[in-house]
Amino acid sequence: MSTEVEMSIYVLVLAVPLGLQLVQRVSPLLHTPLMSLTNAISAISVVGAILIAGSGEAPRLSRVLGCLAVTTSTINIVSGFLITDRMLKMFRKKDSGKEHGS
């Protein structure tokens, strides 16, 4: 096994338990914002999409597919973050809630 691959596997085995730990503590109140935030983060595939869409040596078919991928992952990023933001703006505590209404 090359060191490159070995390092990648190390990263994986460290990141998975970290993810499990981080999410276990999220309050159920925030489960929906968490879903849409991680939904936006899953569009990190934009990195791979840019690499192939902007590449000089990939065949045309690959570059076209890459461009499509940049578009769809951007849709995912933009809508994911905006909706998370919209949602979080709505969460308030008792005091500020009363100020706002009644």
């Binding site: 993810g19 925030l30 929906t32 968490l34 983060i41 934009v46 570059r63 461009c67 578009t71 969460f91």
Partner: protein, 461 residues
């Protein structure tokens, strides 16, 4: 040195993404979490654009514009009640991107005439199959949530066998591609099977199980990204992807636990299908119904009212009227609390978001374990559009498909009021004995209109 800037950008991006999930765990730091996530994503994109492999900028920038022009209106125009659909749709786009990158990489290797290593090829195959199946599965989930596709589980004889065979064939084609260069038709066939499998995976799953399914799809999308990281030797992708896979997985486990069901049961169980026998004998038993005026009288005399919202509240968009009722009752000295079942609604935390939209303070919303002991001292439990999560059959009826699911103990309250359109059994087709109790008053009508009437009928104070 300048050539390495992108590596620093990637490291900071990875840290930001970890921080963003951590900060999202509390409402106080949640906004910071979103900012960190956005910052991390921006750094990842900028870092990638700075890499010397990237030389064609025009098309990439045009694609950013097109994507933003589609994504932004999507997020702003959708009403809050449609968050589950929007998330599903957004997922479909994201996982399609992962699959397309996998496809593009595959053809890049084919075009270059040299085969990828077995390891890279394995990662590509995993990325592509997960990406395509998550894409169509998310589109199907979107269709079910938007009710473009029937929300009831669709089943047929031998369904699980058909699905498993299909998956096995797709995997076999994948393995073939890994071990040797294949004829040109293999990759398209592999793609088609993955897409088809995604559709078939969701067809037998009912709308009530959508919280679990959406979380699971999130997990798959993350896993596809992590696989892409292996294929490209990109550790940022591995970190972000596996964080995502882990978080989606944990959430779907939490949802399964909340229903006391196993993963396999959610995926292959076809909830609600088994129940046709009991539906027929349901509607003949007598129930007590009441008017808005009666309900208003009882509530204004109560000390404590616990509201139990469900998907029906989302459908009727009743959350704002509910806020008015809460305010009116609070002014009269009535204590109003909200009991949120973990799987109420169509995605994890769905009810919390809707009540927050209506400006109901989040410290009034209580989780099941915290509020259950309080029902015994509540004068009124007001059930709005919730059904299975308050069905006492879950406690004692071993033949019920929801047997064993932890429920909200609304039947312990002094008076139970249920706002419901009609006596037709709920989504899962399971009859609810709560409706036939002596202490239960059925309030028939549209949830939004009915709550509005109760507010009007409240006696002056």
């Amino acid at each position: 040195m300048t050539g390495d800037i992108w590596q620093f950008a990637y490291i900071i991006a990875a840290l930001s993404i970890i921080g963003s999930i951590k900060w999202l765990s509390s409402p106080v730091t949640a906004r910071r979490g979103v900012l960190a996530g956005q910052g991390g994503m921006l750094l990842a994109v900028i870092g990638t654009l700075l890499r010397h492999e990237v030389i064609n900028y025009e098309w990439v920038l045009i694609c950013f514009f097109v994507g933003a022009a589609i994504g932004a209106p999507l997020a702003y125009l959708m009403p809050m009640t449609a968050v589950p659909q929007l998330t599903a749709l957004s997922h479909a786009f994201g996982s399609l991107a992962a699959a397309l990158v996998g496809t593009a990489e595959y053809y890049r290797y084919v075009g270059a005439g040299h085969a990828a290593t077995g390891f890279t090829m394995t990662a590509l195959v995993v990325e592509t199959i997960l990406g395509y199946l998550t894409c169509t599965a998310s589109i199907m989930a979107f269709g079910k949530l938007q009710e473009l596709v029937p929300t009831r589980p669709i089943t047929y004889r031998g369904q699980n066998v058909v699905n498993l065979v299909l998956l096995a064939v797709a995997i076999a084609l994948g393995v073939w591609m890994i071990v040797e260069p294949t004829p040109f038709w293999v990759f398209p066939a592999f793609t088609g099977l993955s897409l088809l499998f995604g559709v078939l995976l969701i067809i037998p799953i009912g709308g009530g199980d959508m919280p679990t399914v959406i979380a699971l799809l999130n997990s798959y999308a993350g896993a596809a990204c992590a696989a892409m990281g292996f294929a490209l030797g990109n550790r940022l992708l591995i970190i972000a992807g596996s964080l995502n896979a882990a978080s989606g997985f944990i959430l779907s486990v939490i949802m399964c636990n909340a229903m006391n069901r196993s993963f396999l049961n959610v995926l292959f169980g076809a909830f609600g299908q088994v129940q046709e026998g009991t539906v027929a004998q349901a509607s003949t038993r007598p129930v007590r119904s009441a008017t808005a005026e009666d309900a208003a009288q009882i509530m204004s005399g109560a000390r404590k009212v616990i509201v139990v919202p469900g998907y029906g509240m989302a459908v009727a968009q009743a959350q704002h009227k509910l806020r008015e009722l809460t305010d009116a009752l609070t002014r009269r000295g009535v204590e109003v609390e909200f009991a949120i079942h973990p799987v109420a609604g169509r995605m994890p935390g769905h009810m919390n978001v809707l009540l927050a939209e209506a400006d109901i303070p989040y410290d009034r919303l209580h989780e099941m374990e915290d509020i259950n002991p309080e029902f015994a001292e509540a004068d009124v439990a007001l059930v709005i559009g919730a059904n299975d999560v308050v069905n006492p059959a879950a406690r004692h009826d071993t033949s019920s498909p929801i047997y064993g699911m932890p429920i909200l103990d609304v039947d312990k309250a002094h008076t139970v009021m249920v706002i419901k359109r009609s006596m037709s059994p709920g989504f899962a087709g399971i009859d609810n004995e709560l409706y036939y109790m002596d202490r239960t008053l059925m309030l028939f009508g549209d949830a939004k209109a009915f709550v509005g009437e109760i507010v009007k009928e409240l006696p002056a104070h």
